[in-house]
Symmetry: D3
Subunit: 234 residues, 6 copies
């Protein structure tokens, strides 16, 4: 259903979303059952930044950023704007002026399925962004699309109001109603990993800690000599 | 027309070219009618550097950098060397020695359609570069090509003597005779954007500033409840 | 021959391997006859780091990192772990916990043919990595593979115990028995390049230093006017 | 929600689905508002075949086809099996034996987001397939996933029981409850195109038929001479 | 210079262009100095067809085919329509209706830098096409571009009125004024290849026919045993 | 070790190799332990052809086919020529003249890691080929490489004299000394698959035939209603 702007969709509880920002994308993704990762194709334009927020979703026509301008009016403090296009596009449909406008409304960052530009300016003003492409190629403002409808990015469905977490490893979506659960599961995972880390640093093996040896039932351990003899080669 | 070296082609007025360096790639690209962008495939190997210069163009055979050596002799202060290959190649045909030689002649940087290497050394010596690939794979010096003929990079024609602007967003070509016009159009654009930025930062909407609302004639604004009812889904 | 773990394969002499770390990937690759480069697809997650070590090779199933856990037990101080998958995969099969475990055993870094995650944590802990993909997408620990068998990465064969050099230009393999030879050839190359660099910085041309002019036998030097007349165009 | 098999989800009315097969993918996609196209990355392994059916959806782990075996048991006559992986994979997880099993249960074809093999055998037995990759690389049967949950393929959500149409142009999904509407809209579109085709074949211009000339308000018509004078070039 | 339609640009002599169709793309490309090939990214949607014609060039906005409709009015018998987009796009902006309209005006085929659809219908009606993408994804008709200006496709400049040759190996451009020369050079090349083919079929070696042995000065011929001894393996 | 031509390397027993041609690539790949597949990137230029032969390996410089000419002299009846480049290249370094020469010496086909051209002519003359690229872009004959040394293609090592099998699913390598074993394992696999096929066609499930149900221990079977209730969505 294109050509729709949904006003004021329910958003995830921002207090819980803020807690999510304490955990990395990898942790949250594992904690919610190894799901929601927005793919290896989305890269940050800055280093060392981690944010969480609620998704303000946008569908644009390729080469056209009209609907991002429309989305600004729907923005709420705590949002992260998530932009997709109806077909693949690398054009730079987002830049420093739109970031200025969104920052004025409390938007925390951008997840861009097409391209963006003004990367230095965005870093300078502290508006973090994750994007599929960096491109100075400009866009028009001609063709309508949609705001705050479910979108697909990196093979994942993002609904308006879902929580987004993003850091140096990429970005992840947590469904709106699962955020509290994701926070507690992430906390549990971190606690467990802390314990594991200490054991690994002390020289214990994950093979033993995780009990993986039975899975190696069919694996042979050979000396280099024995391997050479079997493979018929050095 | 391969196997040609054109000596002393007309170059854009270097005073005007230097003025271009005051504007970003995105600004210049928009100012000259949204054209000349060398594509999302060319990335800088450094961050935060912006340069402008006149194009010294080179056509190499893939896996062969003979003609870059030839081009050095044709270099003039203020040039940016622009290297393409007759077919796609990722090989590292450019490194620190060639940069040393070009810097000694006043060349300001490199735009590389194939690959380069010695990235740390290039950053350390302050020779900026934009490239399609980073690769240590070496090349031979066997097969002739051309210097200072029109080349195509990122789907754009670059003629010797055209102006090149490059920064964190990529690189852009401005035709030799259009540089002065590009400078004044960029200045006008920046002035206009400064005014717009202030209004956006104060909370005005680009929908209103740019008068975009009439383009949304066919777009419906729905509440989340109304949208769910229509879509037959939460 | 999958489902094999080779214990204690012969490793390159670590003293010679340490000497290799004094030379860049581009230098070593050229010094050993322009071979061994692991391809433009492997990028570092940090900047300005150069390491050398002996290859601890791993073959994983896509989406499964069981064999990295197995490899830890085979690790020796001075190793660099080199991970491939039986078919292309971008999943993040390596992160900070595995790095902690490997660092505890003296492993110097990672060369990853699939994907990794926890990039900030890896940089913070000083565990350098080169990878084809960054992805938070998690993996399972289910399907056996192999450790310390010959693997292919970036079109090159890496045998366990071979030397690996890696820096900002990517990574390179040197066969185990060729390391001493590679060190002396790299030293010779650097000495020669130092001399060349001084001459180039002083304005001499590589065309003359390398004696390339005879290779330009069929190349015509034309003035811009003459070129235009011939090409039938301005 | 992984590790789930949904039994007997509601399916689109098969009589209406059969009617859809009378229209091409391009027609249906346009008729339902230019939506649902499963992307340019899915190509048929045969030429000249068009099918429609109801989606039997499968989520596999990369390099693992266990869940396709599970899906066979859930298949109903009229289904098209739609297979995705939790992360990108090109492995050939589908071949002639699975096709034999599915054909025995009345399944009409395959839409494969990863890879398949036995292409000649599939063509010979008349089991049509659309796929992202052809690869003989085999898979294991180890890691559970899901059957008949919503999946994403080519950036589109496919729910179990939705209608799929596929032909030489690729594949398209029509939501389960919209199939009847899609049939009538496709019929209307075809009727309109038949009339347009006759007028175009007779030499009328689409500029006039569609009333496009007002959109060219800012476009200048120039003779070649005038264009050369303006562009300053031949 | 966008937003321009050039009417009646000079076209290559159609009699000579027709002669070009007697030679394959590989032959013509070699005959004109190994230039003009439109790249490995353009593939035919049919097999066994070879055509030649004069270029009718079009620049579209991504996701928008308005200017193809404009181009129809400029078409002349003998033309091949060559369509590019201002930035990369895979959308299916061309189909059977546009082909009907162009065929009615004597256009011989399509070279498409973006995407097309209705592939079966195009094959059935005998309208040959070469394309970067097949996609049913539809386009709008909103944003102006240009007709009959120079365009870049596959890294080559195509000017209106240039000759295009296309067959199973892809497509090639011959500059308008070079067509007669290309015909005679192609004829000479074919004659020479016929003689060479007979000698090769009789068992002579191209090493001798082309006199290549001197180029192998540095190459060693080793027996397998000698090679193994040297390589220290097998 | 470049710049080497190995004469008369040991070849796999051609009688056994001929038997391999009775089995498809997928079958052989599975029969030898799911190894040796040359990757999804190699596609046939014809349909419905299956061949087997012994590998005549070639390493070329990108954009240069000199060493293919050298390889012709080393060809033996029953060989399949396997061509790689020292770095990625799409250039068309192989065409109908080389095929004529190789066919005259009993070579059975081509596996090309770069590009080829004259596809129609190759099909017409019955010289089958598998290739990474089709491109009319020509090459030079300048830079030496190697013949009959181990090469890497699609991530697999191919040694001279190894067996190659190729069909519509791609190509596969079988190590020279494993060919007889591969033939018998393929025969066994085919026999077993015939039995399985009959059972599947009769409606039995692979879940039962292969005993996969225990692997689904953690998988829940839910009705569509139950799933909706759990997922909180239709």
């Amino acid at each position: 259903m294109l050509n729709v702007v949904v006003t004021n969709p329910p958003r995830a509880d921002i207090t819980e979303v803020d807690r999510l920002a304490g955990y990395g994308v990898a942790t949250v993704h594992e904690a919610i059952g190894r799901s929601g990762y927005l793919g290896a194709g989305l890269r940050p334009i800055q280093q060392g930044t981690r944010i969480a927020g609620t998704a303000l979703t946008v569908v644009c026509w390729p080469g056209d950023n009209l609907m991002i301008h429309v989305a600004v009016e729907q923005a709420k403090p705590g949002d992260i704007i998530v932009v997709t296009t109806t077909s693949p596009s690398s054009d730079g449909g987002f830049g420093e002026l739109l970031a200025t406008s969104l920052a004025a409304r409390g938007v925390r960052g951008l997840v861009m399925g097409a391209g963006l530009r003004d990367t230095r300016e965005l870093r300078d003003m502290g508006f973090p962004a994750w994007t599929a492409h960096v491109s100075a190629q400009g866009t028009v403002k001609e063709t309508p699309g949609a705001v705050n409808v479910p979108v697909v990015i990196g093979g994942q469905v993002v609904r308006p109001g879902d929580a987004i977490v993003a850091d140096d490893d990429g970005a992840c979506v947590v469904p709106r109603l699962d955020v509290a659960k994701a926070v507690s599961a992430s906390a549990a995972r971190v606690a467990k990993e802390d314990a594991t880390r200490r054991r690994l640093a002390a020289g214990e093996l994950s093979l033993d800690i995780y009990g993986l040896r039975p899975k190696l039932a069919g694996v042979e351990y050979l000396s280099a000599d024995e391997y050479s003899r079997r493979a018929g080669e050095v």
